[in-house]
Symmetry: C2
Subunit: 404 residues, 2 copies
Amino acid sequence: MPVAWSSFYAERTAGMYSSEIRDILHLTEKPDIISLAGGLPAPELFPVEEFRRAFEWVLSHEGATALQYGPTEGYVPLKQVLAERMAKFGIQSSPDNILITSGSQQALDLLGKLFLNPGDAIVVENPSYLGALQAFNCYQARYVIVPMDENGMRTDVLDEILASQRVKFVYALPNFQNPSGRTMSLERRQHLVRIAEKYGVPIVEDDPYGELRYEGEHLPSLKSLDRSGNVIYLGTFSKILAPGFRLGWVVAPPEVFRWLVLAKQPADLHTCTASQRAFYHVAKDGFLDRHVARIRAVYHERRDTMLRAMERHFPPEVRWTKAEGGLFVWVMLPEGVDSRELLVEAVQEKVAFVPGSAFHADGSGHNTMRLNFSNSTPAQLEEAIERLGRVIRRFLGRVAVPSP
Amino acid sequence: MPVAWSSFYAERTAGMYSSEIRDILHLTEKPDIISLAGGLPAPELFPVEEFRRAFEWVLSHEGATALQYGPTEGYVPLKQVLAERMAKFGIQSSPDNILITSGSQQALDLLGKLFLNPGDAIVVENPSYLGALQAFNCYQARYVIVPMDENGMRTDVLDEILASQRVKFVYALPNFQNPSGRTMSLERRQHLVRIAEKYGVPIVEDDPYGELRYEGEHLPSLKSLDRSGNVIYLGTFSKILAPGFRLGWVVAPPEVFRWLVLAKQPADLHTCTASQRAFYHVAKDGFLDRHVARIRAVYHERRDTMLRAMERHFPPEVRWTKAEGGLFVWVMLPEGVDSRELLVEAVQEKVAFVPGSAFHADGSGHNTMRLNFSNSTPAQLEEAIERLGRVIRRFLGRVAVPSP
């Protein structure tokens, strides 16, 4: 008889489902839709020529090695470049405690594998990165949510939480958070590191956007503030070079590093050898600094264009974050509005976004939405925001919104 | 206070440990050791120039797309090439049910994630592929072992097992198994597929070496014999093109395919976009057939060299498999001998292998060892077997072996 597949799946599959983002991305692949839904970098900024030359060099000079199996830990010269670069931002590391991962998405999966029994609690910001929630769902995490305000995670609330319950780690995105665009203030960062110290709780710091700041001063990472070795730091090349190669890294205390290697080995043996060598050639000798400056200039303009257009086209009852960096602006519609219903009408007007509820571990946030500005030209952003403003005005005029 | 890390790890970490193979590989990195320990392809056969041209083409003509995020399911033209190629071997598939994975190692991890609750039973051959055991260990699998003989898995024993207990799947390597080098006979293949049908149990067929046959007739895969959609088939480019890129694939029933996509998305989003496009260019237009023929010729000679040298240098009480393909010869020392002790002496004589107990889910097999012939020249193989024969003779002369 044929296998009755549904009776064979593991219990964890109850938490595995297709993300709204992906379904929407499929929906918005039509060329006449302007999509603010994805989180894609601008492909016209990819350093294609540098990668072409780097692969040419690697495959001409060390081809056999680049095509062979490699160490799970990653390519040491690339890790050396990363250590030197992170040192500029106050993060002490060495190739011995940097693990190259297949994107920082893999790091999230490995951390779930290493730390989480079914039902184990972890602290997440509300909202938080959808890909992290999906990764931790596979390990049947239980989410303890901490609210945010304009200064990021409410660490006073976190302190109360940790006083009363045991959690496996605190997952934080301090810089220009996906999805909210918010940045954790220096005081909150210091407080968060003190709280981790107070309770002896690990922090997982996810920092894909830290270098993409368009105004204000760089704030130190949690990792650079941590004196007790309690912070596991995740970095990625996806937003500063290119995401297609799936190259990220983890900086972990030596003890955790060894376990992460043991978790990665049966997951994919190692990350692509040739890509790691090509990234080494692209990233060394200062190219990365020049390239990031260029990305910053372009995204800065796009963010400003979007924010100005929102001022002009959005009705006064709509609020949004003025993200100091990153890829996203976060919009709060009046309470009682469901942004998923709004999306249906928006797609008819050829503009798309991601409804915010997908990012909330507690299922709240129905009145929020995430707008991406990195993957559209200024002209497209103007047009998209004008369309979206029209849809929102029409929608709010029709929907009964309870008065506050 | 610093985190007390050891109290934070998940229960599954009890089954995660460094493989003997890896520790030995570290040991044998000294240049004067001839290592028969690894399972590495011969790097001098890698089609480096083809990959150089393929990356050059991809990065010159479709660079921005190749550097961007891609679909989790994989690059459709590459999957089309795979479907056409597998059709030659009787496997019906289409891009809609082929998932590109980050090596077939990732496929094993995803299958564990999809099917296994802690303590769930799966059937494995004894011995079996170490990387699979490590992947399934992470999901706290319980192993039900089936013995093998010269015709592969003892399907009569499997039939009895499945009559009395529920298992999540049967994991089988029918062709030139790693580590034993054994091949499942046609009758056993047919029987195995009938048994899966009889009990409605999934089969996971792992086939990294199927095309590397040096003598005898190609035998149909379990997937090609299966009429009920009970077989999940794993393929890989690691042994027929290059392992460093980590590119494999799964052919699964549509229902299982959808779940595997949901399992892969939070694991690494997708496999490297540029590599998939480069592999498409290398694999299309018949190159793969010509290249595999070349690999076969070289490995055939190496296998023959090793087997002839073993005839000359190994004492008569030692037996071994005459692998019809693949990368390994499997050696059975007299009962009571521990090949791990032998390894210590072998390394002193500058030759290395993998002790066979690592591959046995039940911890047996102390008197066995795995020898690799793909990654050494014929001259090195002659020398290595001569050294190993000397060590074995000396060792057996000194160790008290119980008479049979």
